[in-house]
Structures are given as C-alpha cells and as structure tokens.
C-alpha cells in the first residue's frame, strides 16, 4: 500500500502543478492581449502622420501599462514566489515583448535606453530576484534587442515621413547599444541569435544615414531629443 500512497502523493503534486500552470496560462493570455494592444498603439509612429502624435501615443501606452501591472499582480498570486524559474517558460515570451514595449515607449519619450530598473517599474515588478517576481536580465536584453529592430524600421520610415534627423539620432543610439552588447559573452541560445540580428539593424540604419549623407540631407543632430 505504501507504493500506492507514494504515487497518490506524487499525483497530487502533479495535479496541483498542472492547475498552477493552467492558471498562469490564462493570465498570460490576457497579458498577451494587452501587449498586442500597446503594440497597435505604438505602431502608428511608423505612419507618415504618426510622428507628431508620438507624445499622445506614449501617454496612451503608459495607460495600458496600468492594465499590465494589474495583470502581472494577478499573475504573481498564482504561484509561490521562490519558484519563478519553475514556470518561467510560460511568461518569458510575453515578458520580453513587454520589456520591448516599455523600452520603446521610453525611447520615443526621451531617446534614451530604458534601464532594467525602469522596465521593472513600468511593469510593476522587481529587478532583484530575491525581492519577488522580477525581470530576468536576459529577458530585459531580449526586449531591448526587439526594440533595436523596431528602431531600424523607424529610421527607414522617418525618411519616408520627411524627418531626416531622426535616423542620425537613432544611429548614435543603436551604436552605443551595439557597443554594450559586444561586452557580453553569450551562449548559443535564443538571445545570441537575437543579438546576431542586431548587426543587421545597425547595418540598415547605417545605410539610411549613408543615403542621407550622400544627398546632403544629414545634418549632425545638434539638439538630440528635439521634441
């Protein structure tokens, strides 16, 4: 009978585990929904007309991040805090998207690189693992890399919209980012692959700047963050 009891105990554990995962999955779905909404708000910056609306779009996005914080607060209640990495895979993807969105908003607002602390604050989570539900450094970095690729698109669309200064500012920003990433020793993992993509973003932006240069359209940006 002891064997049976043992398996009952384990089965109890497995069931509980599945329930937790099911709960997590549901909250994560709502998070994904909100993330898509924020993305839709921010996508408009790529439109010719969208450049002027950046401040209002950022405000709109900031409001949606309130929802995110509520949803993440809900997520935190679904599992014991010290088992973060046990369930990490469930929210890793959406957390990286949210880090990207936070980084994008901050960039649009101030043209600076969001810090891990800021992202954590925007999402209502911790930076330090010991303190609770936190933002893994690799997830933060992944979010930043997604933004880099969005910025290369923005550089292209800025030109279409007739804004010839922005690409140069993006170029400076992305080059600094690239230098930062070069300092890291990455394993052969998804982050490494994403980082390889950064080189192409840098290259694309460099090409835009080049196109502007040879046409005499690029002026050294005197006043970065000219909004």
């Amino acid at each position: 009978m002891s064997v049976t009891e043992m398996f009952s105990y384990i089965q109890g554990f497995l069931s509980a585990d599945q329930d937790v995962r099911e709960d997590i999955r549901k909250v994560v779905q709502t998070l994904e929904q909100t993330a898509r909404e924020i993305l839709t708000v921010l996508q408009s910056v790529h439109q010719p007309s969208g450049f002027k609306e950046i401040p209002s779009k950022c405000t709109k996005a900031r409001e949606l991040f309130c929802t995110v914080r509520t949803q993440i607060a809900d997520l935190k209640t679904k599992f014991p805090v010290e088992q973060y990495y046990r369930f990490h895979e469930h929210w890793r993807f959406v957390l990286q998207r949210l880090a990207f969105l936070a980084a994008f908003v901050v960039y649009l607002e101030t043209e600076t690189l969001v810090t891990r602390e800021e992202v954590a604050q925007i999402l209502g989570i911790e930076v330090v693992r010991e303190k609770g539900f936190h933002l893994d450094v690799e997830d933060y970095l992944a979010g930043v890399l997604i933004m880099a690729s969005e910025l290369s698109r923005l550089a292209v669309n800025s030109v279409t919209a007739g804004d010839y200064n922005r690409p140069l500012r993006i170029s400076n920003f992305i080059n600094e980012l690239d230098s930062g990433f070069r300092l890291l020793n990455l394993k052969n993992d998804p982050l490494r692959k994403r980082y390889d993509g950064l080189k192409y973003d840098v290259k694309k932006i460099e090409e835009v700047v080049y196109d502007l240069s040879i046409r005499g359209l690029a002026k050294e940006p005197e006043s970065v963050g000219d909004k």
Binding site: M6, Y9, E176, L183, L184
Partner: protein, 267 residues
C-alpha cells in the same frame, strides 16, 4: 567615426550597465558549468553504487556490500551538498537542467539500496531527509575578526517530485536485472517479491498516466518491458515448479537453498 569614441567612453551609462550585465551573465554561466561538472560526478558514483549493489548476490557477507554502498552514497551526498552550496540563495529551478541527470541517478541508487534493505519504495521525504547538510560557516568577512569560532549553517537540498519519479522509473530496470539474476542463482522467492513490487510501481505509473512530465512517458515503455520480463520469469518458475514430483520437493529445496537464508542471504 564618432561611435568608436562613444563606446569606449566608459562614462557612458549604457556601457556601464552592460558591464554589470556581463558580470551577471558570466557569473551565472560559470555557476551552471560548475553544477554540470558536479552532476556528472554524482551520476558516475551513483552508477557505480548500483553496480556494487548487484554484486551482493554472491558474496559471503551481503551486509558488507550494503555498508560499502552506504559509504559510496555518503560520498555522493557530499557532492549533492556541493550542489546545495552552489544553489544557496538561488532559485533552484534556474539551474535545474544542469544537475537533474545526476539527481535522477542518485534517486535510482538510493532507492535501490532502500529496496534491498527494506523491500519497500523509499519516499521522497526519506530521500530529502538525507540531504540536509551542516556547513561550517566561514567567519563573516564583514566586521568580525579572524579566528573567531565558526558557526554552522543548515543547508538542504530538495529533490523535485519529477526527478524522484524519473529516478524510480529507472530503478525498475535495476530491479528487473536483480530478478533475472535471482532466478539464475536459484533464489525463487525474490522474483515473486519483485514482481509484486514492480507491478505496484507499474500500476502507480499508469495511474499517473500522461499527467507526469514528458520524460516519464518516454520511460514508460521500458518500464513495461521490465515488468514483462519479471512476470515471465515468475511464470517460468511456476510452470517448472509444477513438475516437481511431490516426494522430491524436499530434496530439491534442501539441495538448492540450505545455505541461503531466504530473507537475507541472497538479496
């Protein structure tokens, strides 16, 4: 060309932040790597313990073997203590993949020893109870002088239910080997005991079914095969036992089992 200047400008806050990230990532990877190495040691020593336990069948004093195995597993537990040390203050699931193979093998070894001693399935609690380590703390670097009496700290390692399950699944292979060996060595009680026990474990796994971790389903086929082999062995023993002329029964048994204490001798 201005980028070049900027990036090496160590006053850049971005660069400064990334230097911290570099540190953090390298520290994590190094720890992961150390855990992989300890795990490999745990695997090898656990496997050797299992081989040692199979040697019990034909030695004069099985208790010696059991003691040797216990000593070997003590060594393994020291290694697991090192893992626990590395994980002190960490989220163990963050590094779980690094040491799960070793832990599963340890569960296999320790549950094999337990079965041989007690003819029962070791529980997860019993396993975890042995994974409590006393560490003599280094004198706290900040503020306290050297030479101060060293404190001790309790460090625990918790085997996860999944690793426990996976280790038990592998245990069944060893039990099957033990069963076949028993038949070969003229021990006819052990196979029947083992088939009962294996059947219980098998029924336990089918009760869990596909709700367990993915790796369990992969091992289920092997488990079923092992059970089949053990059931076949018992079948053969029964069938051939049916032929013993009644008057010979005593003879046969005396000639083949006198020197074996059925409870302790062989297994």
């Amino acid at each position: 060309a201005q980028e070049q200047d900027m990036s090496t400008n160590s006053s850049s806050s971005v660069i400064a932040a990334f230097r911290v990230f570099q540190q953090e990532l390298d520290t994590k990877h190094d720890k992961y790597e150390r855990l992989v190495k300890i795990s490999r040691d745990v695997t090898i020593e656990s496997k050797r313990t299992i081989f040692l336990l199979h040697r019990m069948t034909n030695v004069p004093d099985p208790e010696d073997v059991l003691n040797d195995a216990e000593v070997k597993l003590d060594g393994v537990r020291q290694k697991i203590g090192q893992i626990a040390e590395e994980l002190r203050g960490e989220d163990i699931f963050q590094f779980h993949r690094a040491f799960t193979p070793g832990i599963q093998e340890y569960v296999e070894a320790v549950s094999f020893l337990h079965y041989i001693r007690h003819r029962s399935l070791i529980s997860l609690e019993e396993i975890n109870a042995r994974l409590v380590f006393m560490r003599t703390e280094k004198a706290d670097a900040k503020g306290s002088a050297e030479g101060q009496p060293l404190g001790t700290q309790v460090l625990t390692f918790q085997v996860t239910p999944s690793d426990y399950l996976l280790g038990v699944a592998d245990l069944t292979g060893e039990l099957m080997r033990m069963c076949i060996s028993s038949v070969g060595n003229g021990d006819i009680d052990t196979p029947f005991q083992l088939s009962q026990f294996l059947r219980q474990i098998h029924d336990g796994f089918s009760y869990i079914g596909n709700t367990g971790p993915y790796e369990v389903s992969k091992k289920l086929h092997t488990l079923r095969q092992s059970l089949g082999k053990v059931e076949d062995a018992c079948y053969t023993l029964r069938v051939r036992g049916s032929e013993i002329p009644k008057h010979m029964l005593a003879d046969v048994f005396s000639s083949r089992t006198t020197l074996i204490d059925p409870e302790e001798g062989v297994v």
